[in-house]
Subunit: 196 residues, 2 copies
DNA sequence: CAAATTAATTGAACGCCGTCCAATTTTTTA
DNA sequence: TAAAAAATTGGACGGCGTTCAATTAATTTG
């Protein structure tokens, strides 16, 4: 088969990302393959390479999509919430990771080959999620401590991430921890307590 | 070539682990291959399978070796230290991860296929490292708060892990965090302050 | 000591993978 | 309508984990 006009380049890109994310969510990073995505949309492997150029570019785009979904999920959980917004954000972190286990895990399992850098748009997505946490932390800090919101947000994100990661990869189960979410909330509360 | 007697089964196991860990540390998990290890020790791929049975069993043994080295590293850093032992442990966490980047990363990049469980000996190694932290936390807690040492240790390990992970995978760099170790120490100190 | 048995080792074969690219076909341009 | 450009294919390549029949050496048995 030669040139087709079933889809524009943009449609094709969207088709691949849609099917790719579906498959990634289903089989997980270790079993994910670009060839299988091509099969799934009825195109050949070569077409994936036409559109994305490489496996890492595809993975980065898929992880970008996960970040998009994650951000939307987080904002939705916070929307309209009056009290305990940070706790809600922590719960959302865990719920998203547990509910999209494979996609979430792929965010960290996939590493760019040495020398390659994440695109600007990928960085923006990561920063957008961080931005939500910065905003929520700033909101609970006393006015004279607001300048600590960004460093605190980065650090508390790391703490929550560690708890979530151990919950998902089995480390906590191995060590007998039964309430990872509660532990994460406690650590965040202690950090904030310092600023009165 | 048929049966040889160059090495006993135990020697062969050790040979494979030695070379495997060397290669894993050099090329990282994504590029690591059992075939290449076989080449490295002058045996065929079949022999690796005779000794370990599968790729996951080999990886688990290699990660077990990393945990052994990590535990020894941690204990050595703490040996003879009088003050700020927990801070020293946190520094050791980061220093080990940074100094053995590929091996440390492989501990988390490699996931057992669904259904397989880590061996008892692997669990013991993880618990041994946790045990060090439990001990150090218990030592700084007031006597009437000692029962919190284990849950606190699990949780603070997760926090420190999150910081270390973000330091190594580039998330912190992306977000402008310049002092991951300092942030981790601050979070741990705040958690302990509560029992102060 | 010789013959039979057991154990270890090999490497080709299989079906995957990411990657590349010459050939083909359609669309667009001239 | 002819020429140029763009898109799509799928075979080829070298790699991977895994399996296993064949081979060879060590060990046991008679």
């Amino acid at each position: 088969m030669g040139r087709r006009s079933d889809h524009t380049r943009e449609e094709l890109r969207e088709l691949i990302l849609e099917e790719g994310h579906r498959q990634l969510s289903e089989v997980g990073f270790a079993r994910f393959s670009a060839r299988e995505v091509a099969k799934g949309i009825g195109y050949s492997i070569g077409t994936i390479y036409n559109v994305f150029g490489s496996y890492s570019a595809l993975m980065l785009a898929l992880n970008g999509r996960t970040l998009d979904i994650w951000l939307a999920f987080l904002e939705e959980r916070l929307a309209g919430r009056e009290k305990d917004r940070l706790d809600a954000a922590i719960e959302a972190y865990f719920d998203f990771a547990l509910g999209h286990r494979h996609a979430w895990t792929a965010l960290y399992d996939f590493r760019l080959p040495a020398g390659e850098l994440p695109s600007e748009s990928y960085r923006e997505k990561v920063e957008a999620i961080t931005g939500v946490i910065v905003r929520e932390i700033a909101a609970v800090l006393p006015a004279d401590a607001r300048q600590h919101a960004l460093p605190l947000a980065r650090s508390l994100l790391a703490s929550v991430h560690g708890h979530c990661f151990f919950a998902i990869n089995g480390t906590f189960a191995m060590l007998g921890e039964q309430d990872p979410v509660g532990a994460a909330k406690a650590r965040v509360a202690e950090a904030l307590a310092r600023y009165g």
